[in-house]
């Protein structure tokens, strides 16, 4: 999962169109839409007590590729894969974990298939505003990241050019371990966190 910067002098939507047009010229087929979203929960003040713990942030994410699942994760911590009832549990836990609704962020866009690759070009939005572009590329036949990284990189260069990312840190230490959907969600969480911290794209005509 990588962030593609907005093209010089263009809007988020125009840059997304440039990317999708390149993919279509390569011969990729549109295959529906996708959505990955992320909600932020923080430990309620009442539960901190005398222990002096700093509040923790927990992310609860959903991915349309896995419609029956829910992913819950902590930054630099474990990622739990659960079924959709986890969302109901979070409602029961609202005395302990508060949903920072304003922080909800999502990447939404079109799914493309090109031979054995699956590409998703998403507009990242927080509330009503478009904050950036997230591109997810998957090489479907392979489950060990190290074995296909070079191939992935070569494919990405054909439509992302100089914006092709380096190997994601989630594959850093565990070169030969088997890929899991949690690896994708961690990358989205890191990308969303980065986008949240970025300055909002200035709007022309601010008085």
């Amino acid at each position: 999962v990588a962030q593609v910067p907005v093209a010089e002098g263009k809007s988020v939507q125009q840059t997304v169109e440039l990317l999708t047009r390149k993919l279509e010229l390569l011969g990729a087929d549109k295959q529906g839409a996708f959505c990955v979203d992320c909600e932020t929960y923080h430990t309620a003040a009442a539960t901190m007590g005398a222990q002096g713990q700093t509040g923790k942030l927990m992310y609860v994410m959903h991915n349309s590729e896995y419609p029956l699942s829910c992913f819950a994760l902590f930054e630099n911590g474990p990622c739990l894969i659960a079924d959709a009832n986890f969302d109901i549990l979070m409602v029961k836990l609202k005395g302990f974990f508060q949903n920072a609704k304003a922080n909800k962020i999502e990447s939404r866009g079109t799914r493309y298939q090109y031979c054995d690759f699956l590409v998703k070009v998403g507009t990242v939005t927080m509330g009503p505003s478009a904050r950036g572009i997230a591109v997810e590329v998957e090489y479907c036949p392979c489950v060990i990241a190290n074995d296909c990284w070079n191939l992935l990189m070569e494919f990405m260069q054909s439509f992302m050019g100089s914006h092709t990312p380096g190997i994601p840190s989630v594959f850093g230490t565990k070169h030969d371990s088997i890929y899991s959907p949690a690896d994708t969600m961690v990358q989205y969480m890191e990308l969303f966190n980065k986008i949240r911290k970025q300055q909002q794209v200035p709007v022309a005509g601010i008085r």
Partner: protein, 147 residues
């Protein structure tokens, strides 16, 4: 500040079959109007999870209260589930190979998971429980007495 009663979650996994998801369950307080019913009724949320559940719960701020191994048999009659099992104490935390029985007796538990509002289910449970007498006397439990 102190919470009135701690939030309890139950994490369970199969020891006899590998590769199955862990099971997380939340059971709410007994519902109001419960006294007239023949069975204990509680709100229930069941969640299947990946096998890093206990690490994740600790990260959320939960701490383990107790753990045990249960071995026995599961029977079904329609939506009713009857479990006949022995409880084993775990001698070293997290090590399920070193266990000893808590008692020589088996525990018999009759439970049903049903959509909200289907109170008539408790009548079916009472009727079934009657059939197990005098071999087993199934009683409605009071969770407050056990805490």
């Amino acid at each position: 500040g102190q919470q009135a009663s701690p939030f309890v979650l139950r994490a369970r996994r199969a020891l006899d079959k590998g590769g199955l998801p862990w099971h997380l369950r939340y059971l709410g307080q007994p519902e109001i109007g419960d006294k007239s019913r023949h069975a204990l009724v509680r709100n229930c949320v069941d969640i299947a999870t990946s096998d890093n559940l206990t690490d994740f719960l600790v990260e959320m701020g939960f701490r383990m209260d107790h753990e045990f191994v249960a071995k026995g048999h599961v029977f079904r009659k329609g939506i009713m589930k009857i479990v006949v099992y022995k409880i084993f104490r775990i001698l070293m935390p997290g090590n399920t190979d070193s266990i000893e029985p808590l008692s020589l007796s088996y525990l018999v538990e009759l439970n049903v998971v049903a959509p909200a509002g289907q109170d008539v289910v408790s009548d079916d449970m009472r009727n079934f429980a009657e059939q197990l007498k005098p071999l087993v006397h199934l009683e409605k439990i009071d969770p407050k007495r056990l805490m």
